[in-house]
């Protein structure tokens, strides 16, 4: 897959900086994020709450809150810079070119509008499709996302649907506009685990059938392993490590990625789970140097003083940590032994998707 996706960049985010005006000052939520989305791939953006992942994609969708400022950077899509598109014109892109699946399906649907109408609405209003045709298409979409008894469900209201069913409807709504990019913002966080797996499978299937490019936002590394071709790890408004799924899971280079992987529960690990100590930094006053350094037990002296640049490891893999600097070779900081053992186990048991 890696060879085909090389060529065609469909969405490109360049040095995006987003801040929010707040009472204490400017909250620098996103501090220079760059990434490319290739046609047909799934790109995961992983990070803790507040790492800036949702803000980045809200900037892509043009739905940032009113107190947000895009300070610099560009979002290139289809020859346009989306940061410069006016609000009046943005509705041509939302839904029709880029679709979004929400985190919380329970509050994302209008509680007093029939499910069917919520799906057909955009077809009727924006594509000028006839009523019967729109209904036909909506029913088909509902079947695609795995809803039984579509004819009857079409006439029902959101409160008659379970959480998983509502998320399927949200997906159907996102697909109604025939987008080529689908952004999933933690689509399964609000759902229970059994439903989660089904929804993810559905998204994967739809992605394949419709040749979609997917950006998948999550804090759940378990989900990433099943979904993503490439992974960006975000911390404190920056991408700290980027690579293919294999690279991130088997050869993580950034201490933050180590910490994330170590804090992920699995069935084999018998010892205590390593939670990451501390909390993410206050983004009104982002720390000097590596933002993760204060929470990092094996931080170097320079981590507290100077911000590390991205060090390239392979063509596809890069990480922002001084550990990769030639001069750090004699610091002997390595990934924790327990994580090493776990990665070995994963490799033996047959890779990521096994």
């Amino acid at each position: 897959m890696a060879e085909t996706m090389k060529k065609d960049v469909i969405l490109s985010v360049r040095d995006l900086r987003v801040s929010f005006r707040a009472y204490g000052g400017l909250v620098q939520a996103v501090r220079g994020v760059s990434f490319d989305l290739y046609r047909g791939e799934t790109l995961a953006i992983v990070g803790e709450s507040g790492s800036g992942k949702s803000v980045s994609i809200k900037a892509v969708m043009g739905i940032l809150a009113n107190n947000a400022i895009i300070e610099s950077g560009e979002i290139l899509y289809d020859g346009k810079d989306l940061t410069k598109v006016k609000e009046e014109d943005f509705h041509e892109i939302r839904g029709h070119r880029i679709g979004l699946i929400f985190q919380d399906p329970l509050s994302a649907l209008n509680p007093i509008m029939k499910i069917g109408k919520q799906i057909t609405e955009v077809l009727r209003l924006k594509k000028g499709v006839s009523k019967a045709e729109a209904k036909e298409k909506a029913l088909e979409l509902m079947r695609v996302v795995g809803i039984p008894d579509v004819e009857q469900r079409f006439e029902q209201y959101p409160f008659q649907f379970s959480g998983g069913m509502r998320q399927r409807i949200v997906i159907a709504i996102a697909l109604a506009g025939d987008p080529e990019i689908l952004i999933c913002d933690e689509p399964t966080t609000a759902l229970d685990v059994t439903v989660q797996a089904k929804i993810l499978e559905q998204i994967n299937q739809i992605k394949k059938d419709r040749n979609l490019s997917v950006i998948f936002i999550t804090h759940d590394l378990g989900v990433v392993a099943n979904m993503a071709d490439r992974v960006n790890v975000m911390y404190a408004g920056k991408i700290v490590e980027t690579g293919t799924s294999e690279e991130i899971f088997f050869e993580p280079a950034h201490p933050y990625t180590w910490a994330l992987l170590s804090s992920m529960p699995d069935l084999q690990t018998k010892d205590r789970l390593n939670a990451i100590p501390g909390t993410p930094p206050n983004m009104i006053f982002p720390p000097k140097g590596d933002a993760f350094a204060p929470r990092n037990a094996c931080a170097l002296k320079i981590d507290h003083e100077k911000e590390p640049p991205m060090f390239k490891i392979t063509e596809t893999h890069a990480a922002a940590t001084w550990l990769l600097h030639p001069m750090a070779a004699d610091s002997h900081v390595e990934m924790p032994a327990s994580l090493k053992a776990r990665i070995e186990r994963m490799k033996r048991s047959g890779g990521l998707n096994g």
């Binding site: 969708m61 739905i63 609000e87 009046e88 509705h91 041509e92 939302r94 839904g95 029709h96 679709g99 979004l100 929400f102 919380d104 509050s107 994302a108 649907l109 209008n110 509680p111 007093i112 509008m113 029939k114 609405e121 955009v122 209003l125 924006k126 209201y157 409160f159 008659q160 949200v170 709504i173 996102a174 109604a176 506009g177």
Partner: protein, 317 residues
């Protein structure tokens, strides 16, 4: 749903019964006899007292009072204001002006409130919103008769555009409306402000809701999303405030009618209380209660029709 309607109507009738009993009792406790005119022939007075069982014990009087109302809508006769006339007839004859000003106020204030509420919500925290909010607070907290006096002073005395009092000689509808303008305006301010305030709050909440964001991310323009999703959803809780508004307008019209000398039910109630025309007082009280109860019933039922969460779930009720 049918069961629900029946239970609502049952509750309404029970409430009406309690109100009737209460007003019967309260009026019996008031001072002033029905017959104060020393020139009334004692013979006639005795006959009247007999006819209306006024010499019987209170429980017996109560029984006859209820029986007359339930069997033939007989509320008694007026003894002071329009001596000898049937109270129910007086009530009906006073109905048109009251209905006119109350309903016109309602129909003016609903659209105005919706417009101002929307403007305030869309321009949230700008000077437009602040101006509207300040006016809303004034109009909600100051009672309508104060505005009545202010309007009477400014627009009939200082700047004589409208007549001070209701023109009972008016023949055409236009003439009638001309003299009813001020009372209607005075009555409309409060409900307009109420709707504005509610709609502003509801709209702001709905505009920042997740489903509005979804409506926008699926490709609707901001205007389409707000009108089709936020506005529609805001109207449901608003429909509930109508109860308070209608009773509020009626309460205001009690005094306003008196101020502008409008021959309606409100003036009648005030007059009958002061004159000690007890049968009439009770009848007007019951009339007002019945109107309020019917309003509550209609709003309750329509709530079920507008809100699918009540309607569809209603099968269980």
């Amino acid at each position: 749903m049918f069961k629900y309607i029946l239970s609502r109507i049952g509750a309404m009738l029970l409430t009406l019964f309690l109100i009737m009993s209460l007003s019967f009792m309260v009026v019996r406790l008031m001072p002033m006899s029905l017959f104060e005119n020393p020139e009334t022939d004692p013979e006639i007075q005795r006959k009247l007292e007999d006819k209306y069982h006024l010499n019987d014990t209170i429980p017996v009087q109560y029984f006859y009072f209820m029986k007359d109302i339930i069997t033939d809508l007989n509320f008694g006769i007026s003894v002071k204001i329009r001596p000898g006339l049937d109270v129910f007839g007086i009530l009906v004859s006073r109905l048109p002006p009251t209905i006119l000003i109350n309903f016109i106020s309602l129909f003016i204030s609903i659209p105005l409130g919706l417009i101002f509420g929307t403007i305030a919500a869309l321009n949230r925290n700008t000077w437009i919103d602040h101006v509207i909010s300040v006016l809303v607070i004034i109009f909600i907290s100051v009672p309508s008769f104060i505005f009545g006096s202010v309007l009477q002073y400014t627009l009939t005395f200082a700047l004589p555009i409208f007549p001070t009092l209701y023109d009972s000689q008016a023949v055409t509808f236009a003439q009638k409306m001309h003299s009813l303008c001020l009372p209607i305006v005075a009555l409309s301010l409060n409900p307009t402000a109420t709707i504005t305030r509610y709609l502003r709050g509801e709209l702001i909440e709905n505009i920042s809701s997740e489903y509005l964001l979804l409506a926008r991310t699926k490709g609707l323009t901001k205007a389409q999303a707000i009108v089709r999703h936020a506005f529609r959803n805001s109207l449901i809780p608003i429909s509930n405030t109508l109860i308070g508004m209608i009773t509020g307008i009626m309460g205001g019209s009690l005094v306003i009618e008196k101020m502008f000398a409008i021959p309606g039910e409100g003036g009648l109630l005030v007059k009958s209380i002061f004159a000690g025309d007890h049968f009439l007082t009770v009848a007007v009280l019951i009339f007002y209660s019945a109107v309020s109860l019917v309003t509550i019933l209609i709003v309750d039922l329509s709530y079920g029709i507008i809100d699918p969460r009540v309607r569809v779930g209603g099968g269980k009720a």
